[in-house]
């Protein structure tokens, strides 16, 4: 167990990270992500209020739809990345990172400026279980009356799972199809056990409980940013390749001006994916070199269990950010060759 944003979290279960990772890609993995924070925003100004604090366009959401977005600073850097769920026209649920929940909550409260909204940090009220992988729908369907095949990607329904009332969302952080179930915190154990049973845990093709390490390798293969690694208060959304969640034309929001200026001027560095081409494993925070000159840092580096390669992401100056660019990673004093490649590293067949 490790401390993760104040939560005791398992790094891996007995099957081990590689097996957990592979099972999620080929069948299903179950992740207890109850550490994630939930902030409830209710009131007639819920949409304009959240739209002013986040970079994506909340007005584009319909009831039952979720959106990947970011809370931004006035400089366009990232307070946190989050999911915005529209429960109704006057009710949004923000799902934020565990380690940043308190910071986000203070930030959001401090930006409340007369809008008609009621804010609640509901993090302790929810558990969140993520059932991910190609078999997720088959496993979850017998436990719920909801027609899961009708829930589209980044949409959610209210309903019950094993008789427990909650939200079932077709979202995830693994690059696979799957669902995230939000339910009352005291039902976490019941739902966890039920989903493992329904997924035939123990069978060679059954669901496996997965820890933080597999969650990290899965999201990295899928090219997804992790707060504190690829994005933080020193990186802008544009540098992090998250221009697609920067809706500069939606109207004013915190950080819009800085992002618009940076877009016009052009970014100086960019987040890229790389594959190690020599023997060695790149790790977080190692230096990136081009022509013997230190040009950037690895934000996440790890073996990729499904791709069977050693991969990573790094910030490099835009002039060295093209696919095919040869770079070196300083792996504890040894320079190891790598090449910039397209991200995501892994994309599932739909």
């Amino acid at each position: 167990m490790v401390d993760f944003g104040g939560w005791d979290m398992p790094v891996q279960y007995p099957a081990g990270t590689i097996e957990e990772h592979l099972r999620t890609r080929t069948h299903a993995g179950l992740f207890d992500v109850s550490h994630m924070g939930e902030i409830d925003v209710r009131g007639s100004d819920a949409i304009p209020f959240v739209n002013r604090l986040t970079s994506n366009d909340v007005t584009k959401l319909v009831d039952g739809q979720a959106q990947y977005s970011a809370l931004t600073t006035t400089s366009g850097t990232v307070i946190d990345d989050l999911l915005v769920h529209r429960l109704s026209g006057d009710h949004l649920l923000l799902v934020v990172n565990a380690g940043t929940t308190d910071k986000d909550w203070e930030w959001i409260k401090s930006h409340h400026n007369g809008e008609s909204v009621e804010l609640r940090n509901a993090s302790a009220e929810y558990c969140q279980l993520a059932l991910q992988g190609p078999d997720a729908e088959t496993i979850l369907q017998p436990l719920t009356e909801l027609p899961l095949s009708e829930i589209k990607y980044y949409h959610f329904h209210h309903g019950t799972v094993d008789g427990v009332s909650g939200i079932v969302s077709r979202t995830g952080y693994t690059g696979e199809d799957g669902f995230e179930v939000y339910a009352p915190a005291d039902r976490a154990e019941q739902l966890w056990n039920k989903m493992l049973d329904a997924g035939n845990m123990g069978a060679p093709t059954g669901v496996l409980p997965c820890g933080l390490a597999a969650r990290n390798t899965l999201r990295l293969e899928a090219g997804m940013a992790l707060y504190g690694h690829e994005i933080d208060e020193n990186t802008t959304l544009l540098e992090a390749n998250l221009g697609w969640i920067c809706k500069l034309d939606k109207g004013d929001f915190v950080g819009r001006e800085a992002l618009a200026q940076q877009k016009a001027a052009g970014i100086k560095r960019r987040l890229v994916g790389f594959e190690v081409t020599e023997r060695g494993i790149a790790r977080d925070d190692q230096d990136v070199l081009v022509n013997d000159e230190k040009v950037g840092k690895v934000t996440s580096g790890s073996p990729a269990p499904f791709l069977k390669k050693n991969i990573g992401m790094a910030y490099v100056p835009v002039e060295h950010a093209s696919v095919g660019q040869e770079i070196k990673i300083d792996v504890r004093g040894k320079l190891v060759g790598a090449q910039i490649v397209k991200t995501p590293f892994y994309k599932r067949n739909k």
Binding site: Q12, T17, I18, E19, T217, G280, P303, P305
Partner: protein
């Protein structure tokens, strides 16, 4: 419960030593491989490299982390387990057998006596995991 064979010597850095004449065979313990998780990469020294006791002679990497490996005794490398380059998972599946790492020609065989016995190592790991 981790496997701790009686006939080996142990270091507090979780290496084991098997004495074979004037040579020492070195690897990491069952307890160590279990805490590391799936081993995906082992970096070893070259034959003829010389090390003093407690010096780092390589590293073992799991998906999540890198750990240095230290030689519990001084000596010159006579052989390394080259098969770990392609099958690092042997460190997990057979840490005291096929997962061995290095053979050293010991320069001071007396150093072995200062290492932990199986019983001492078992107590040490118990205390460490509490």
């Amino acid at each position: 419960m981790a496997n701790v064979p009686e006939d080996l010597h142990y270091s507090k850095d979780h290496e084991w030593v098997r004495v074979d004449g004037d040579e020492a065979i070195i690897g990491i313990t069952d307890y160590a491989q279990n805490s590391l998780g799936d081993v995906v990469y082992v970096e070893l020294p070259k034959a003829a490299d010389e090390f003093s006791a407690s010096e780092s002679f390589g590293s073992v990497e799991s998906v999540k982390a890198v750990s240095e490996i230290f030689t519990p005794v001084s000596g010159v490398v006579s052989r390394i387990n080259e098969s770990l380059a392609d099958e690092p998972e042997k460190v997990n599946s057979d840490p005291y057998g096929e997962g061995w790492m290095v053979r050293l020609r010991m320069s001071n065989a007396g150093e072995v006596d200062s290492l932990l016995t199986a019983a001492e190592y078992e107590d040490f790991t118990k205390a460490e995991s509490e």
